[in-house]
């Protein structure tokens, strides 16, 4: 039995706004095992970033975990005090690389100092020189010349900034790294370099990862499992080979088909018509039914349950419900 690092059970995260409750995450469950990477995919607004923010409990004002459990190392993060989370979970247990990370560096501090700051905050006993030394080692680990630690962010290229952010996330030896859209805003070649780095880090450090992306091709390069989200729910979940070879949910099929291929035959591209649901008033029944080609009467009324189709491949769709 592989060791489970993180288990999310029936997570509900809502945002309170003037017009009501936005059900950004509405009953999401998944597991991340040691040394494995889970891809969290879906269109913008499907709740994938909210899942990440919930795990670290860094939701913006108005956001609240209303139900569910997040088990990390046997501890339930949803019930922990703020101080305890800061001490035990963030950076040391779970760290995150945000979307557009290159803009997250402070322009007036040297790169090495910024990484050292994270180390010192979480390990107050360490001396400044040791922290800087470790920052240099971390930069080396992500493929940046250690001497560049004394550079300022503007002296780094986009790809190097992304690498520095990954180095910073690894500063306190976390067990789980969350990467939110690590490839977007980078050029193809630099993106390929960063993905290659993440794969190497995962193998070398036996790191667990959650990779959030709307781009299924990026997830396919790195991850072992995938969860496809739609309208705050996971619609398909399973082993990456199984899901990509035989996507079951009509939404998953649509997403995979909307990718232009660089190898296969040239053809007219397909898309999923319509737009994602309004999470203030999500459609009744299956949330995908207004955009689904296969929608049946039952889809408009009853929400499909999540059930296994084969080992390690789950889908929430009435088409696969046993009659």
């Amino acid at each position: 039995m592989p060791e489970t690092v993180l288990e999310v059970k029936n997570l509900h995260t809502y945002y309170k706004i003037l017009r009501g409750l936005v059900k950004a995450v509405d009953g999401v469950s998944f597991r991340v095992e040691k040394g494995k990477a889970l891809g969290l995919a879906g269109e913008s607004g499907c709740g994938k970033t909210t899942v990440a923010l919930s795990i670290l409990k860094i939701l913006p004002p108005g956001g609240q975990i209303v139900k569910g459990r997040i088990l990390f190392d046997g501890l339930d993060i949803t019930r922990m005090e703020e101080a305890e989370i800061r001490e035990k979970v963030r950076w040391k247990g779970i760290s995150i690389v945000f979307q557009g990370a290159m803009n997250a560096l402070n322009p007036v501090y040297r790169i090495g100092d910024q990484i050292a700051e994270a180390i010192i905050t979480h390990e107050p006993d360490i001396s400044k020189t040791d922290a800087i030394e470790r920052a240099k080692k971390l930069l080396e680990l992500v493929g940046v010349e250690p001497s560049r630690a004394s550079n300022f962010p503007h002296e780094f290229s986009g790809g190097m900034k992304q690498r520095a952010m990954i180095a910073m996330a690894l500063a306190c030896n976390p067990k789980l790294l969350i990467a939110d859209e690590p490839g977007t805003a980078l050029d193809v070649i630099v993106q390929a370099q960063v993905l290659k780095l993440m794969k190497e880090l995962k193998d070398r450090l036996n790191l667990s990862m959650i990779m959030i992306s709307h781009d299924l091709s990026i997830i396919s390069e790195v991850c072992d499992d995938i969860a496809i989200m739609y309208g705050g729910k996971i619609v398909e979940y399973g082993d990456i080979y199984s899901v990509y070879k035989e996507p079951l949910h009509p939404y998953a099929k649509g997403l995979l088909e909307s990718f232009p291929s660089i190898t296969g035959p040239r053809k007219r591209m397909t898309s999923i018509p319509g737009s994602p649901p309004d999470l203030l008033n999500p459609p009744r029944g299956c949330r995908f039914h207004p955009r689904c080609f296969y929608a049946m009467e039952i889809c408009k009324k009853v929400e499909p349950a999540f059930h296994p189709v084969k080992t390690a491949h789950f889908v929430a769709c009435h088409l696969y419900q046993k009659a």
């Binding site: 269109e43 070649i189 993905l195 290659k196 396919s220 990718f259 660089i262 040239r266």
Partner: protein, 329 residues
């Protein structure tokens, strides 16, 4: 053979870098960014011509130069065989009607204070069409062309009420309403979700078929370019490295840079995960581009000293497949 609509000959654009007061006293020749450095290509009628490359390769500058949103440093641009770089600005309005642009980011390119009807009608008013019935008729017709139907539902809405895909359709409509012959589409889908990209791109294909417009499609996504374009040019640091029919360039890439770009494209299939040869480093600064072949600093197939010394010429290897690389000379 289709007739040539746009012909670009040895186009250059150097941006001067402003120096501080003291540095400007001691520097004789102010440094320049060579954003576009001598490129030539043509776009045929009813064709989608792709211009691909990393950021900083000069592809957006090229698009803007053709529309004369920027003035070229040197070189010529022909529209229907008429040279347009020397036409004075005040006489240029009639060409502006025939050449339009769709910008990258539909969240930034639409005025948030204007309703959709006024956004689309503005180019008509600029072109001097004052008759309100005529304006309204054409706005409605264009909304139908971009499949924002029924048009009445969209006419009086503001951009913030629309999704990203719908906004980009409005941007398309604004370009189309004056019935242009040529449209520059500058990464029109890079800000959109993957699932709706195809809608916008298929719309472009339909417009080509229906109105025979030509597109210059600027992109960094070779997989999309492959499905959309007829011909493709690969740019690197202001130069064209390779150009030809899209099938030739993608299935038989000649330039090491084209190969590197193709190799870096992620594939949505975990079984084809390969040990990738990813080239190192990032695009160098266009202020001091490398000597000789600009790609030599990152090239995995460097031939020898010649690559550092001499700039390769763009040569034809048959079937209009051009490459600028010493490996083929």
């Amino acid at each position: 053979m289709e007739e040539t609509l746009i012909r670009v000959v040895d186009l250059k654009k150097y941006f001067p870098i402003s120096l501080g007061f003291f540095s400007s006293l001691i520097t004789r020749k102010p440094p320049v960014v060579k954003a576009v450095d001598g490129i030539s290509f043509d776009v045929k009628k009813g064709e989608i011509f792709g211009l691909a490359g990393e950021s900083g390769s000069g592809k957006t500058t090229t698009g803007r130069l053709i529309l004369r949103l920027l003035e070229p440093t040197s070189g010529k641009i022909y529209f229907h065989e008429k040279e347009i770089t020397s036409i004075p600005e005040r006489n240029f309005k009639e060409f502006r009607r025939k050449m339009q642009i769709i910008f990258q980011d539909p969240y930034e390119s639409l005025n948030p204070k204007m309703i959709i009807k006024d956004i689309i009608a503005e180019p008509l008013r600029v072109q001097g069409i004052k008759n309100e019935d005529e304006v309204m008729k054409r706005v409605v017709q264009t909304l139908e062309d971009v499949e924002l139907t029924p048009p009445e539902e969209f006419l009086y809405r503001f951009p913030h009420e629309l999704s990203g895909g719908q906004r980009q359709r409005v941007a398309c409509a604004r370009a189309l309403v004056v019935q242009p012959e040529f449209i520059v589409a500058d990464e029109p889908v890079s800000m959109l979700d993957v699932s709706i990209r195809a809608e916008i791109l298929n719309l472009m294909v339909d417009l080509v078929e229906k109105y025979h417009v030509s597109f210059l499609y600027i992109t960094h996504d070779l997989a999309l370019a492959r499905h959309l374009c007829n011909r493709l040019a690969i740019m690197y640091l202001g130069k064209i490295m390779e150009k030809g029919f899209v099938e030739d360039v993608i299935s038989n890439p000649l330039h090491p840079y084209t190969r590197a770009l193709l190799n870096a494209v992620p594939i949505p299939d975990p079984t084809s995960r390969r040990v990738k040869v990813v080239i190192k480093g990032e695009i160098p600064s266009p202020i001091n581009p490398p000597s000789g072949c600009r790609f030599h600093t990152r090239c995995p197939n460097i031939k020898g000293d010649i690559c550092r010394r001499e700039e390769p010429k763009l040569i034809d290897l048959g079937n209009d497949h051009y490459v600028a690389c010493h490996l083929y000379s």
